[in-house]
Amino acid sequence: MDGYVAKPVRPSDLWAALAAAVPGASAVPPAEDEPPELPAAPDAVVLDGAALLRRLGGNAGLLARILVLFEGDCGRLLGEMQAALAEGDADRLARPAHTLKGTLGNLSAGASCAVAVRLEALARRGELAEAQRVFPQLEAEIGRLRTALAALGAAHPTSSGERV
């Protein structure tokens, strides 16, 4: 069964469910489980531009659309997080942190993604004081990411025929 990568809490349950869901699937987990996922290292790169471009099929037009979408979305999510912190509402903090984490992962933005992972975990544990201290780090990392994204976009203008 090629279609699945899993880090199951209960491997037997998960694989049995997969086997039931997909005809022909094996109920036996693969020999090697994926290593547990760790937050990106502190020295993670701001932006892995090559990985992002690969994900977008080298399509400069698509990259430009992504950059515009990210600008709007990221500002909105940071604003929601700021409001949640101001009101001391950990539950309301967790959702935008979670969403931003996913988007940053998709952008191959390792450094800011790692901070968002940490912030979401703090929000879910209700550790608001620590979250207050981490939030400016997220803003700073997002600032660096914006600069890197802008440079990537400038290096791959859409006018040159969509393809990089």
Partner: protein
């Protein structure tokens, strides 16, 4: 464009865009994420992506765009991925749902699979797994769709099963029989469920009260002594040699099921009023009430070891 032509969709049943591409729906509240997921699949498979930002707008998009497959995020404001999976399963049972799980969220994925999701892909593995997974799930769904079309042309289904007294096979038998309820007056989900419940109760009655002769009075003293006695008798003559015989005949007009056990039976004449529970001790009160409520006709043979259940196609469904 070459990729698109090379992988053109040849399935005549496919809901296709003008260029022949399979339409699929991506549901995610994060705009960057849904565009990336959609573009990965568009590029790899030549399909056409349509987008929705939460479960509720996804259900509307399924009506208007008629996608062949749905790819959804789990965590969304309003109706999330789990609820969406359940809703699509009810309203559009032939449209498979695949979930994208956030980084390290496999427990929720397992719940989604139990809600009826066809598969899931961790978000960090979209590059490698998304397109192959969707392609594989759609291939399986296509076979199911064809089977549904074939069953729609079914004139008569006649099936016979002989079961021993192991209750674990009962759900499988019930599910198998339910899939033949395809004609318009029998195929709505409520009817299917009700026939399924009635069949299950009748089969369990045949095993426990018929073959194993365990009374429902005993059950009122608790599940444990009831099942202990049933387990003992499953291995003990004469109970162990008894079988349950199931004969089903399903046409466009009605579905009838004859379930016979090999126990001593009882005198059906001792049931002057079938809804008078005082007379129904050994047959299982709740079970018989459900059977009587859900089926159109319920009959016993004179020796009381065979029950016949009939469900007729509803008129408004248009019997053929």
């Amino acid at each position: 464009m070459t990729a698109r032509l090379a992988q053109a969709e040849h399935d005549p049943e496919a809901a296709q865009g003008e260029d022949g591409a399979v339409t699929f729906l991506v549901v995610d509240d994060a705009p960057v994420d849904r565009l990336i997921a959609g573009s990965i699949v568009e590029r790899a498979l030549g399909w056409r992506a349509v987008y929705a930002e939460d479960g509720r707008s996804a259900l509307a998009a399924i009506e208007s765009e008629k996608p062949r497959i749905v790819l959804t995020d789990l965590n969304m404001p309003g109706m999330g991925g789990l609820e969406l999976t359940a809703a699509v399963g009810k309203r559009h049972p032939l449209v498979p749902v695949v979930l994208m799980t956030a980084f390290g969220n496999e427990e929720v994925a397992l719940r989604a699979l139990r809600e009826g999701a066809a598969s899931y892909v961790p978000k960090k593995s979209l590059d490698d797994l998304l397109a192959p997974t969707l392609e594989q799930v759609l291939a399986v769904a296509r076979v199911e769709r064809r089977q549904q079309r074939l069953l729609g042309r079914l004139d008569v289904a006649e099936l016979r099963f002989t079961l021993d007294n192991d209750r674990s096979l009962v759900p499988a038998v019930v599910t198998h029989l339910q899939q033949y309820l395809v004609c318009p007056g029998l195929s709505d989900p409520t009817t299917k469920t009700r026939v399924g419940v009635a069949l299950e109760e009748a089969l369990l009655n045949a095993i426990y009260h018929g073959n194993l002769e365990v009374s429902s009075e005993l059950r009122q003293q608790g599940e444990e002594p009831f099942h202990r006695l049933a387990d003992e008798r499953r291995r003990l003559a004469p109970y162990s040699g008894r079988r349950v015989h199931v004969a089903a005949r399903i046409t466009h007009d009605e579905a009838s099921f004859v379930i016979r056990d090999e126990g001593p039976g009882f005198d059906p004449a001792a049931l002057p009023d079938p809804t008078d529970f005082a007379n129904l001790g050994r047959v299982g009160r709740r079970g018989l009430l459900l059977i009587r409520t859900f089926m159109d006709e319920v009959r016993y043979n004179p020796t009381g070891n065979q029950i016949t259940l009939v469900k007729r196609a509803r008129e408004e469904g248009g019997t053929l």
